[in-house]
Symmetry: C2
Subunit: 129 residues, 2 copies
DNA sequence: TCTTGCTCCTGTAGTGGCTACAGGAATTAG
DNA sequence: CTAATTCCTGTAGCCACTACAGGAGCAAGA
């Protein structure tokens, strides 16, 4: 059993984030030593690593928790896991498309701004009716 | 002079957002009628429309305010405006690249998940050491 | 005149996922 | 014995709003 700092080091999840996960019920409350300090088992650290990987893949915390729960069931439900992943993928795809549209719009609005003109074309187009 | 609801309708900025901009000093405090209700001029509405367009282009509020301030100076400083736009563009480009990396990683992790296998390959790869 | 419904006011809390303290207690190293 | 480190709880801050609660004012219709 290890203290929270070591669990943080082993999992890559920050100390405050670990306590936050506990408060939010994402991970079960760990045991406590006689001096009231949290004690983490290898299983606990495994959960943190799992969550860290999910977050690195961009899953929202709620979906990360859902995946963690699935992963701890006797028979991991691949279909449900795929559902979660698919919806996450489509939200990423949507974000990419939105950002690309934004990028094009920005390029358009600044297109005539190459010279040091007195009346900035970008500002004009933001202002005009 | 119009009330806040009409200013919201004309600018597309929500009523609560308008009050928020005022609190945050993004726009100057508007006049008040005898009954304490806010009164907006065409100039005020023009500022809200400008901010709305900046936000639609994804500019953070602080940058939107900087652009608004530039736009209200006697000689709009195109170079400064372009600076702001360029840094915003590069942050968008970075976000797109990050999301595309995420998308590829997600595709990899779910690649072997087409069948209804008992041990979900995605969950396994999130769990393994 | 009374009521209904709309708009407006201030102030506070919530969103996500943490991070950064403050202020204190306990442990460890020298 | 002291100093440094780690831990504890609890709160505030980030961004850009949104969503109330609880109340006041105002216009139109019965």
């Amino acid at each position: 059993m290890i203290a929270i700092g070591e669990a943080s080091r082993q999992s890559g999840v920050g100390i405050e984030a670990i306590r936050y996960y506990e408060r939010e019920g994402i991970v079960p409350k760990p045991g406590r030593a006689a001096n009231n300090r949290r004690l983490y088992s290898k299983t606990d650290v495994g959960r943190l690593i799992f969550l860290k990987r999910c977050r690195n893949l961009g899953f929202p915390l709620a979906e990360a928790k859902a995946l963690l729960d699935l992963s701890e069931q006797r028979e991991a439900d691949c279909a449900k896991a795929l559902d979660i992943a698919a919806s996450h993928k489509s939200s990423i795809r949507k974000k990419i498309n939105d950002l690309e549209r934004l990028e094009r719009a920005l390029n358009e609005v600044t297109a005539n701004c190459t010279n040091g003109s007195l009346h900035c074309p970008m500002l004009l187009s933001l202002r005009e009716h």
